[in-house]
């Protein structure tokens, strides 16, 4: 039948013309339905992946050598990029808040704005996004390449569970190291604000530090560290998930890397809003 249709393009054209408005509506509904089904399938697959990953985080055997290697890779090697981001963000924050607050004669609030903004929001979110770009992409590319070159299948045939060997160490390291990076980012960011305020804006060192210290509460720092742990988990899970399900070829690995960075960045921003609501509403 299909051959006949191909041999009579005019008849084919007539068939297309007779498509009613109802058909177009049904086609649109089918496309929307397909997208929604695909979305739920993806959420289901990700949930199963997270469930399996968490199970293997807590069940032996553990691979301390691999966890150590990931701690160095995620923590130590991300230190320069997180430190630089925090330093310049703290410096810009001091400058911007000073120029803004002078309009209301509220220059004395600069120290409070810098310390609260850095600890509560900027250090965790910026560190999360920087690590998503650096580490999430590298995880997806590495695991994706292992998938494409059958190295993950090789692990299974050698009696090694890929979830324990590849995924669990990265999730442990990501969740533990991001709070540490953020703590360092907090200190560096506040230091950046201090340097600009003292040497550029003419603040007194003693009063700047005492204002910063007085305004700061334990929850400000702890909420930032908790957020950081959540963001570290998100980055590791999304990097591993997209790498693990990478499609064949260089294009598949490239796409996995892009998805890992984009999805973890968006999830970080969504999680940040939810956690802020939980901590401070």
């Amino acid at each position: 039948m299909s051959t006949e249709t191909k041999e009579h393009p005019i008849a084919d054209h007539i068939v297309h013309d007779t498509k009613s408005a109802v058909d177009y509506v049904l086609d649109a509904c089918a496309a929307i339905g397909h997208t929604i089904m695909h979305l739920f399938q993806s959420i289901g697959a990700l949930s199963i992946f997270i469930g399996r990953s968490i199970t293997h985080v807590f069940l032996p055997p553990f691979f301390p050598r691999l966890i150590g290697r990931q701690i160095i890779d995620i923590g130590y090697y991300s230190l320069p990029v997180v430190g630089m981001t925090a330093l310049f963000t703290g410096m810009v924050l001091a400058l911007q808040s000073y120029t803004g607050f002078t309009r209301f004669n509220a220059e004395s609030a600069v120290a409070a704005v810098v310390v609260l903004s850095m600890t509560r929001e900027l250090a965790p979110v910026l560190a999360g996004l920087m690590v998503a770009g650096r580490v999430g992409a590298s995880m997806a590319a590495e695991i994706g390449t292992m998938r494409v070159t059958e190295q993950i299948d090789a692990l299974t045939t050698l009696s090694v569970n890929p979830f324990k060997y590849l995924i669990a160490p990265r999730i442990i390291a990501g969740t533990l190291m991001l709070p540490l990076l953020v703590l360092i980012g907090d200190i560096v960011g506040v230091f950046g604000g201090y340097v600009v305020s003292i040497y550029n804006l003419g603040f007194s060192p003693g009063s700047y530090l005492s204002q910063s210290w007085d305004i700061l509460e334990r929850i400000d720092v702890l909420s930032g560290l908790f957020k950081a742990a959540a963001f570290g988990f998100i980055v590791a899970v999304m990097g591993c998930y997209h790498g693990f399900h990478s499609k064949r070829g260089a294009q598949g690995v490239g796409a996995a890397t892009t998805y890992a960075v984009v999805s973890s960045s968006i999830l970080i921003l969504i999680a940040n809003y939810i956690l802020t609501q939980v901590f401070f509403s």
């Binding site: 299909s2 051959t3 055997p61 691979f63 070159t149 059958e150 190295q151 299948d153 090789a154 299974t156 045939t157 050698l158 009696s159 090694v160 569970n161 060997y165």
Partner: protein
Amino acid sequence: MSSDKQPESKLELSGVKKTFGSNKVLQGIDLAIPKGKSLVVIGGSGTGKSVMLKCVLGLITPDEGSIKVDGKETVSIDAKERDKLMRKFGMLFQGGALFDSMSIWENVAFGLIQGRGMDRKDAKGIALEKIKAVGLREEVAKLYPAELSGGMQKRVSLARAIAANPEIIFFDEPTTGLDPIMADVINELISSTVRQMGATALSITHDMASARKIADEVAMIYQGQIIWRGPVDDLDDSGNEYVEQFIHGRAEGPITDDAKSLRHAA
């Protein structure tokens, strides 16, 4: 009752089916390999060879059918049982699948150290022994996979596959990407190693020289089914037009006709 004919089947597949979407890849595979024998499955690209192998290894779960090892069912077994089963297997992957972040000896010893919890020193000793057994010098052990040629990588992959003295060894296109001389060296190595170890071997290939060299028996897979099986010596007198066309590499024949009709249908 194939088990009556071959009472000592090491590996037995019956009625194995696997579908991906609307693509019926395996349509009822029946295959049994006696203990200590080497069976080579030949067939063109996309006929289901690799999917069959992945079903046996548990990397893909079949939709229907049974896969038995030593008479025990292996489909849908739990993780602990699967772990025990995998210790009987060794696998040489088409592209080698060596871990590029590890040195050669660490690759060979990987299954012993991580999979079986063996001491690193003991595992290194075994790895060096196996590296020599596949014709490589001990100095190679310190190098990384990227520093080796394709042929040497295949040898290392073979050393890794046999490191734990498996009972069943699988070979996925063992000579792909190698020049004819190196392919013959690898075939020779596979043949001698399997015989020395007394292991059962299941290989998939479309390289006829390789099939003739390493097989005791040959089976041909076509459209997800085994359409012919016999001793390697009978390969040239199979009386099966599909087998004849495939082993002589002819463009004309039933396989091409099917491919053409598929293209027309598409």
